[in-house]
């Protein structure tokens, strides 16, 4: 197929004899002769000593602890050599193209519209490529749903393309009859396809995939299933199947509705982290931010939170609950609305009222004042039709999950939200189900499965051991794994076929039914890989089965274009000239309108609620498994990306590990503190986890993140954290992730967690200014404590541009997408857990999260802090070698090649935003990963200070572009990397000298203030106070500015 093949072998019977005779060939794959050699396999060793857990930079290589290069540096050789000896001028070659490809201009980036899909959410993005290789995912402003917003994992997606642990060629695992000894050899595509088609023809084919939102690949899968009589099972850990079952029971429509948070004035979330990890967090964050900016009709969010989620942190009112109380909360609100206040038509329905009152006084079980329930009910009713109650996600997958969804649907019908803020006609695409996986397990048990083809999902890791997937796999004759790495499941598959990375292949996505977006490749496939769809098409072609369209097309690109010609464009009303519509699609990236979903209110089947039986109250510790925004379900490809492991968790600021979060009271009861290890037992599964004391948790809740503890993902992700999927309970065919009974025991051991922020209170200082809506409306800018500022000298004049940035703390949800975007744009190093523990992380922007209020129900505020580019910069005054000076445009410039490394500038910076290269971090970057570097930004060497430069390479690019087209620079033409990645447009960058620029207006807003204003560093970054719409007169934690002077 392609010229990347290396030493392939014809596979025949007397393999053992052949193998003995074979000369020892150095394969670039991991080639073990026996099981104990397998034990010494370097990759397995790494899982044991958790090398990356210590640091990517090993002080001494094993072979020669005294590296020769280091010794040369010790003798100060560079000065001596550079002077005395004659210098042989290093020769550099320039190799131009043979024929000039017309779209490539050196130094000028090309942008391609595309879609990023992570198994649950798909968002429109713009892939920035330089010299034919993608280096960054930019925001696509006209994307239908996320409108330019991106999230943490999409920004880090570019690094997974250059992951050195990706498979480079198809592999064949050879097992003995006990399925133990392994022998992995490379094999050509022709041989693989031939062998597999043989197997497929025998029938009993099952095709296990993840959630597929791409209509064209769905069509390929359907054709393949039709051809080989295969049963297609879609399974994801974050399957949202509970919502669909609730909708089916209540409204007879099996659909995952598209929630419209931009139309909701009052939102109640019962353990649904819609700003962090639930269904489509980036899209919901964009919608949520629209309702927060206009203070005349500002939305209010009430969150009932069992773990401390991002939604809970940003909610106006946060109530801490246990997972078993989720149903009780929904019923309490329903009782208040229907029974006490007699609202809506269901008030007359005796059956409903009797079922509701059978719960007794539901509200007093929760630890919140009854007045709050009344207030919530009143707000909901006042905003009926413009309110929304949501529940779901891993945290809501308890035994009573179905009952919870039915009651929530009931409430949304009572409040006439259905059809207004809940759009069920143009709904989300979600085909993955847990029940499908359970059915597959039963089929494997009854040996009905002869050939199992698995695509990208990772049941060996993501299914608990009690599901015995490994043992059942023995009953399957041939297992084919299609994925991008030799992960846990691929290790037990016969054939492992490498799949194109999503940036190397064509595809598309149906964001919401009727709205489609395209996924364009940005690079030629780097290794000997092909897309999953092409593999299926080749099999159908070789076996001559399946409908005509799957056999006739040479590549998946042709199939896709044909599919869009026949199925997609007609549906969207662009049936006319296909080529024109296709070019338009490639330009804009999507077709179809999300808003014209004419869906009226559906009738709620009261019976679905009344036949639910009342759950028994739960006592004692309860487990909460939740997914994080950095890793998602962890089975996806993001577990080997250094940027994501090193990204501090938005709430706990812990990096590189998962941990058991418990409340302060619980910690005192168990007599444990941070970093001490506890042993939790759920049913028969035992696990030891380090403790993290988390304010704002219910006293008997233990919250643990899933997605960690990977063993075969690659050098970065192996051995990071513990695999908490082992704790998932299977009860009558249903996976229970939260609410399970737990016994907890302190073990007295210690396990150090690395946190980038260890102090969480503002100590009464004016750092994040917070005020309630009422307080702001009548006191306007007096909520900010102003200081008299004067200077002895008139100061430098900035008559050209003067760059400034305004950050709206009210819109910022603390999701940290800007941190990963900055890391991708500015080639920032990943240092590893050991060095983060020593306080040496390198992010140029950090999100400071402070807790206010009491440890029991603490509320959190977020503040992104980057270099403030002060006019009276304390760092510039003290640099002895003029390595950091102030530009004529108000930028604090950091000149890496001039810096000697005295670090005085970092000491003198009151904001502590400067980062130092303690070691030569970039020296250890493996081969392909350095392709992710941005060529416009210098890669820093050891001993040099670095900090946010306001993306000076983008400022220069923008100014040069305007100069080339000799026109003045428009406002908003230059956007920093963090500004483009922010899903809530919280960051605004621009020229403060231009009065009608957006940032100049925001600087003069009454909410705007500068951090540490009294030090008169005159920063060029101003923040805007956070407004909480919780109906109170005064902010609860009135952190009176202590000792105001």
């Amino acid at each position: 197929m392609s010229e990347f093949h290396d030493h392939n072998h014809d596979h025949d019977e007397n393999l053992e004899a052949k193998k003995a005779a074979r000369p020892k060939i150095e394969h670039n794959n991991n080639y073990w002769l026996s099981i104990d050699q397998y034990m010494q396999d370097p990759e397995f060793q790494k899982t044991v000593d958790a090398e990356f857990m210590s640091s990517p930079l090993r002080e001494e290589e094993e072979k020669n602890p005294w590296a020769r290069r280091e010794f040369l540096k010790l003798m100060g050789a560079s000065l001596a050599l550079s002077t005395a000896s004659c210098i042989r001028r290093p020769v550099q070659k320039i190799v131009p193209y043979n024929k000039q490809p017309e779209e490539i201009t050196f130094g000028v980036p090309n942008y391609y519209t595309s879609t990023y899909f992570d198994g649950q959410e798909s968002i429109g993005v713009l892939v920035k490529t330089r010299e034919g290789r993608p280096i960054k995912l930019e925001s696509l402003v006209n994307a239908p749903l996320n409108e330019g917003g991106t999230n943490v994992r999409s920004q880090a997606h570019v690094l997974s393309l250059y992951d050195p642990d990706r498979l480079t060629a198809p592999k064949k695992n050879i097992f003995n009859e006990k399925r133990t000894n392994k022998d992995t050899i490379s094999i050509t595509w022709e041989n693989t396809d031939a062998a597999i088609v043989e197997e497929l023809k025998k029938g009993g084919v099952y095709f296990l995939t993840g959630n597929i939102v791409s209509p064209s690949s769905q069509a390929v899968v359907k054709d393949f299933a039709e051809g080989f009589k295969a049963t297609h099972v879609a399974w994801e850990v974050l399957a949202n199947e509970d919502i669909r079952k609730g909708q089916l029971a209540s409204y007879k429509t099996d659909v995952l509705p598209f929630y419209r948070f931009d139309k909701a004035k009052m939102v109640v979330s019962i353990d649904a982290d819609f700003l962090g990890t639930w269904v489509a967090p980036t899209v919901f964050t964009k919608q949520y931010s629209k309702t927060r900016k206009d203070f005349s009709n500002m939305s209010r969010v009430v969150a009932f939170d069992s773990n401390y989620s991002l939604t809970g942190a940003n909610a106006d009112i946060r109530v801490r609950i246990k997972p078993s109380q989720q149903l009780k909360v929904a019923v309490a609100i329903a009782q208040e609305l229907v029974v006490n206040q007699g609202r809506s038509s269901y008030a007359q329905n005796g059956e409903v009222k009797s079922w509701l009152s059978s719960f007794g006084k539901a509200a007093d079980g929760l630890n919140m004042e009854p007045a709050l329930v009344k207030e919530i009910a009143k707000d909901l009713w006042d905003n009926r039709g413009e309110s929304l109650i949501v529940a779901g996600g891993l945290k809501a997958q308890t035994e009573t999950a179905h009952a919870l969804h039915v009651v929530v649907n009931f409430l949304n019908s009572v409040l006439e939200n259905d059809g207004k803020t809940i759009q069920y006609k143009k709904s989300m695409k979600s085909s993955a189900t847990h029940s499908g996986m359970v059915a597959l397990l039963d089929a494997m048990k009854e040996k009905k499965v002869k050939t199992l083809v698995i695509h990208t999902v990772n049941p060996m890791f993501a299914l608990p051991a009690k599901a015995e997937f490994k043992e059942l796999l023995k009953n399957v004759e041939t297992v084919v794994y299609i994925g991008d790495r030799m992960n846990e499941t691929a290790h037990w598959a016969h054939y492992v076929l490498p799949e194109n990375h999503s940036m190397e292949t064509w595809s598309d996505a149906e964001l919401v039914s009727g709205v489609y977006s395209i996924q364009q490749p940005a690079i030629k496939p780097m290794y000997d890989t092909q897309s999953m769809e092409l593999t299926l098409m080749t099999w159908c072609f070789q076996a001559k089965v399946g409908p005509k369209r799957i056999q006739e097309f040479e590549t998946y690109y042709d199939y896709l274009r044909n599919f869009w010609k026949t199925d997609v464009f007609p549906k969207v009303g662009k049936g006319g000239n296909f080529e024109k519509s296709w070019q338009e699609l490639l330009q804009t990236g999507s077709v179809g309108d999300v808003n014209n979903s004419a869906d009226g209110a559906r009738s709620f089947a009261v019976s679905s609620m009344t036949e639910l039986k009342k759950p028994v109250d739960a006592q004692g510790w309860e487990l909460v498994l939740y997914s994080t925004s950095q890793l998602g379900d962890g089975a996806g490809s993001s577990a080997n990306i250094g940027w994501l492991h090193e990204l501090p968790d938005p709430i706990t600021k812990v990096v590189w590990d998962n941990y058991a979060s418990i409340s302060l009271a619980a910690a005192n009861k168990l007599k444990v503190k941070n970093n001490s290890v506890i042993e939790i037992t759920v049913g028969k599964d035992k696990m030891e986890l380090p403790v993290l004391v988390q304010p704002g948790l219910q006293d008997d809740v233990i919250a643990v993140a899933v997605g960690y503890g990977r063993t075969h993902v690659g050098a970065v992700g192996n051995g990071v954290g513990k695999n908490t999927y082992e704790l998932v309970q299977v009860q009558n065919g249903q996976m229970v992730f939260a609410g399970a009974k737990v016994e907890v025991k302190a073990t007295g051991a210690k396990y150090e967690l690395a946190q980038t922020q260890t102090h969480h209170s503002m100590q009464g200082r004016q750092i994040v200014v917070e005020a309630t809506l009422k307080e702001y409306q009548n006191k306007k800018d007096h909520i900010i404590h102003k200081h008299p500022i004067w200077s002895v000298w008139s100061g430098h004049q900035y008559n050209g541009h003067k760059w400034g940035m305004a950050i709206d703390l009210n819109s910022c949800t603390g999701c940290s997408a800007c941190m990963t975007a900055c890391q991708s744009e500015n080639n920032i190093a990943v240092v590893g857990k050991k060095y983060v523990m020593q306080g040496r992380e390198m992010h140029w922007i950090r999100i400071d999260r402070y807790y206010t209020g009491t440890p029991e129900d603490a509320s959190a505020v977020f503040q992104p802090v980057m270099c403030q580019h002060c006019d009276n910069a304390p760092c510039e005054t003290v640099c002895p070698v003029l390595a950091t000076v102030h530009s004529s445009e108000g930028l604090n410039e950091m000149v890496y090649n001039r810096c000697v490394g005295t670090r005085y500038c970092s000491n003198n910076c009151p904001y502590k935003v400067r980062r130092f290269n303690w070691f030569n971090y970039t020296k250890k970057i493996p081969a392909p990963t350095n392709m992710a570097f941005n060529p416009d930004v210098t890669v820093r060497v050891r001993g040099v200070m670095e900090k946010c430069t306001f993306c000076v390479q983008r400022i220069k690019e923008g100014k040069n572009k305007a100069k080339l087209e000799n026109r003045p620079l428009q406002d908003g033409e230059i956007k920093t990397a963090c500004q483009t990645s922010c899903p809530t447009n919280a960051i605004t960058f621009g020229d403060v000298n231009d009065p009608n620029s957006q940032v100049a207006k925001l600087f003069k807003a009454d909410r705007s203030y500068a951090l540490l204003e009294e030090w008169h560093a005159a920063p060029a970054v101003r923040y805007m106070a956070k407004i909480k719409n919780n109906g109170k007169e005064q902010i609860a934690s009135a952190s009176a500015h202590e000792g105001g002077h």
Binding site: D871, N872, A873, T877, H886, A1018
Partner: protein, 174 residues
């Protein structure tokens, strides 16, 4: 330091004797004689009629050049040649330059005074003539060169012997 001259040296063992001898020699009108001692004797300058050393003036001039030199260096680099906006401070921020000017003043003054000392004492000399190895330990001496006015070896020998000189000897060059 004048050219080396032969002459006559009287060795004394006590500080007061040599002080007395020097005073008497000056009374005789001699000016070119030298009083050699292992340590500076209090009152020897006016005994030998040596006027106050001129080194302080050298030090002062050098100090001033140091001060102005530092000011010039700082002004040329920070204000004239390439003024850069550092920390919002004015190009000529005098308070920040004062330490540099003070340091260079002291440096120039100190080094120039030592230079002047070397010049006045004619050191570094390669292998100077020594009259008696004990002169740098516990003995004192008065050396009278030949070109002293009224130099008369015999008379001087008796003169110094009368003042308690331990010995008087001919020196071919000092």
């Amino acid at each position: 330091m004048a050219k080396l001259m032969p002459g006559l040296a009287a060795i004394f063992t006590d500080e007061h004797q040599v002080l007395e001898a020097a005073r008497k020699s000056r009374d005789l009108g001699m000016t070119k004689f030298e009083a050699i001692s292992p340590y500076p004797i209090h009152g020897m300058e006016d005994a030998c009629g040596i006027k106050r050393s001129s080194i302080p003036y050298v030090a002062f001039v050098a100090g001033m050049t140091g001060l102005l030199g530092a000011l010039a260096l700082v002004w040329y680099t920070s204000v004239y040649d390439w003024p850069i906006n550092v920390g919002g401070k004015p190009p000529f921020s005098l308070p920040a330059f004062i330490p540099i000017m003070f340091e260079l003043t002291v440096l120039f003054a100190a080094l120039s005074s030592v230079g002047a000392l070397f010049y006045h004492c004619g050191i570094p000399r390669v292998d100077p003539p020594t009259i008696d190895p004990d002169l740098t330990c516990h003995k004192f001496a008065i050396f009278v060169p030949e070109n002293e006015s009224g130099y008369e070896a015999k008379k001087l020998e008796t003169f110094y012997k009368s003042l308690g000189a331990e010995s008087v000897k001919k020196v071919e060059a000092y």
